[in-house]
Symmetry: D2
């Protein structure tokens, strides 16, 4: 039987929305469940919304909370949606704190609510990696699956690159 996947959402560009009433743009209730429905995912999964933060606002305590949620969960295959700017920092905390599980971080450069967005493709990469890759921490961005400890975001180029 297929092993279930846990999706932890933490915020980031992938879940940014725009509110006209405030004339501003905020992270909102996660669009991830809608994306998984549109993708017709039939594999068992559950989505837990942990926090709604820009990744630049994440503290060390936040990262430890994400790690604890991953470690304590019954699932051994975990997808985490996350802002891209500090995704690699969270990867390092997860690698130190959560042994023996396959954890995949992903996010988006363009919000999931946009007509043009990398969100569903990236989430698809993360779901497949969670099923296929061995235990460890992985980052699925820019069309590529990276070792989570050997990758950085090249902000100017707008992509993730191996280091």
């Amino acid at each position: 039987m297929s092993k279930p996947i846990l999706v932890l959402t933490t915020g980031g560009t992938i879940d940014k929305n725009y509110f006209d009433a405030l004339s501003e743009y905020q992270i909102t209730d996660s669009g991830i469940p809608a994306l998984l429905g549109e993708a017709r995912v039939a594999l068992p999964f559950r989505v837990v919304e942990l926090m709604r933060k820009d990744s630049l606002e994440l503290t060390e305590a936040d990262r430890l909370l994400v790690a604890a949620a991953a470690r304590e969960a019954p699932e051994s295959r975990i997808v985490i949606t996350h802002g891209t700017d500090t995704m690699t920092e969270t990867a390092r905390v997860l690698a130190a704190e959560v042994p023996g599980k396959t954890i995949v971080l992903t996010g988006a450069l363009s919000p999931a609510r946009f007509a043009e967005t990398d969100a569903p493709f990236n989430l698809g990469m993360a779901f497949a990696t969670a099923q296929v890759a061995p235990p460890g921490v992985w980052i699925a961005m820019s069309g590529e699956v990276f070792d989570g400890l050997k990758v950085k975001k090249d902000r100017a180029a707008g992509k993730f690159v191996a280091i």
Copy 2:
């Protein structure tokens, strides 16, 4: 350095379009390159359009042509977009004809040109599987990565299931 991916397109629902001038609906030039652009794929890849067929129309000769294209290509990681109805038959031909490569078949239940579609998620799953999975033939559909020889389409339920 990242290993390049070859994408072979064969048609199927994922590439179906609608033409008002004909009041009908046909497979058209592949939308896969546009999807990969929208997904901001930075990994080296190339797309080869092999044929434009409903998978119910594919002949044994067509499947052998797909297999030959996969076998002869310099790339060892191959994604094939394909209609869903006979995807598993092509998987069997590929398993027999193309040793030593990681081949991932994917497609969509809703055309990529629709506002709501499983196409980008499925293509993301296929790209990740092509990078992470060992040599063999895989099918990435319904949110899951299946052994290409141990899966069938449950047409009534609208999903792929392991057998």
Copy 3:
């Protein structure tokens, strides 16, 4: 107070959908209410689904039924979604059968369910014309509001033109 609008749906490309289970493409439950919700229409309106037909399949009896529905309705401002191929024939029947109401026919060259579609723009034109234009039959297509008796579809060019 704003005068309410009646929307009659008859089918056509605007409401075409694709069904993988059948590997075919059919007119389905109307997407018009969803479009009006997305457009945040606050004006009072009601949607009545009259039929689900390609306009090439519409009979004279069908056109008389559409006319009767428009004539008998309490609303005096009426939007009709319709296939494009025989939209002008229905316009002629409406002009003869329904005096004293502002009736606007519209449709789409690309289905409303597509990511790229003229459907919401056309429906917006029709809503505005129903509010602003004098009684008569109008066709709102190709970015233009036409006198419904002085327009034809140029099938090759994929647009409506005045005659």
Copy 4:
């Protein structure tokens, strides 16, 4: 022959975009030409990008510039895309400064680049109103065509209402 339409863009939510490199959200090059292409507008039109501002940032000098551009243009049918918060203030300046032309202000509560947006419907309403309505200043929002001097934005309710 169809009378041509001038589209003046001034910014506002309709043209807001999100830039990951800045982790912020800005008005960008106008998406209006793309929307008109997707709508398959065959009527002659031209688009002039006047400014890129949130409507809360518009000054009296900005409004006079918009009015001057409308007054001096050869076209007598004008669509103006505009932020929603001060759309009615610009309507008043246009009513005082530009006699004898049909001017329609529109915008959006959700950016045009979003998958779900009122932008194409609103732009369709504005195009039809510019063709059908008598000279004057009109606001096309919330599914309704309003006299531009007898409408306000109800920010809490997220819609325009007649006054």
